[in-house]
Symmetry: C3
Subunit: 146 residues, 3 copies
Amino acid sequence: MNNTDVLIALEAIRQLKARYLRFVDTKQWDGFQALFCDDATMDISDDVPDLILTGSQVIRDAVSHSLAECLSVHQGFMPELDILSPTEARGLWAMQDKLQWTRDCGNGIRDLDGWGHYHETYRKVGDEWRIQTLKLTRLRLDAVRW
Amino acid sequence: MNNTDVLIALEAIRQLKARYLRFVDTKQWDGFQALFCDDATMDISDDVPDLILTGSQVIRDAVSHSLAECLSVHQGFMPELDILSPTEARGLWAMQDKLQWTRDCGNGIRDLDGWGHYHETYRKVGDEWRIQTLKLTRLRLDAVRW
Amino acid sequence: MNNTDVLIALEAIRQLKARYLRFVDTKQWDGFQALFCDDATMDISDDVPDLILTGSQVIRDAVSHSLAECLSVHQGFMPELDILSPTEARGLWAMQDKLQWTRDCGNGIRDLDGWGHYHETYRKVGDEWRIQTLKLTRLRLDAVRW
């Protein structure tokens, strides 16, 4: 790949992640699911022990369910992206999320403010870059209980 | 436009939005006004019902007045930009603002923390990209009263 | 430099700053030090009167010491970068930091939330862009005492 091809791929992956964050917070779940490879994995075991989701449908169902009664804001910053080949890339993003539940959903938490990093890989499927793997690690997590 | 021209335009629009946020928070109102097309519109009806400002001078006067006794921080994240032609573009940004008034300006609010999205269009005027339309939508708005 | 060379340099400097922020918050001090020119300066006199650090070793020692018992999150946004020559650049970033000390380290502060701007210059040393000068200015600084 020449430099211009790499720069175009970087921009495509930045926009992929932008849509990921926007679709989560505006609860556009069809659009959200379509950002992932069919066999994608999401590892949020740093938040919930052993929780690794496999498959874009499973990821969509789990994330949409967990946020069904939650006002969420997810922010991404400062991507460190590597284009590994015309169809493979990896990336690291700083992140912050701010969640507020509208009722007690059983875990006793009303507000959750978190900071950390997304560690991701991407694959190009046809003309579109998609998320292949996502792992969230935390720097800090503040909870306010009901 | 070839790929390099598109990438240069994307960078110019990212810097335009960076200056917009920095000029607001450092109260550089001449510079702020110059970022808009003369006939620009700013739609903040999601914050204040029916409030749509028309014209760069009107936008400058209204924003500078509303923040005159306010310590403001405005943040932008995760642009999704489309270059539509050599002189037209549109963009969507995640945003957060954090406002603290130094005295009660009549609305009873001391602190306002907001999260949402900027929906924008841009036009190239001579060599410079400017904001043609800006609409702010909110995910969440937290107010603390005096 | 042609446009593509400029775009590649911009991406390299964005990644440099991303590593800076990540290495601070994950306390990777060898990596942190290597991001600076040997004779770099860090001017944090807006936080601590007259505090200007000179030399990458001095910067590393001071920053790592001040954060030794602190859970830190540093965020950068909205770069305004200028590539001045193949080996010189300057940049301006919006920033936010959120610090929480695990014990009273003598200044009486438990939490510090800050917002401001990094004003920086960069120099290319061999194949790598590094930070030559960094100056932090503040818009707002909120402290919570023990």
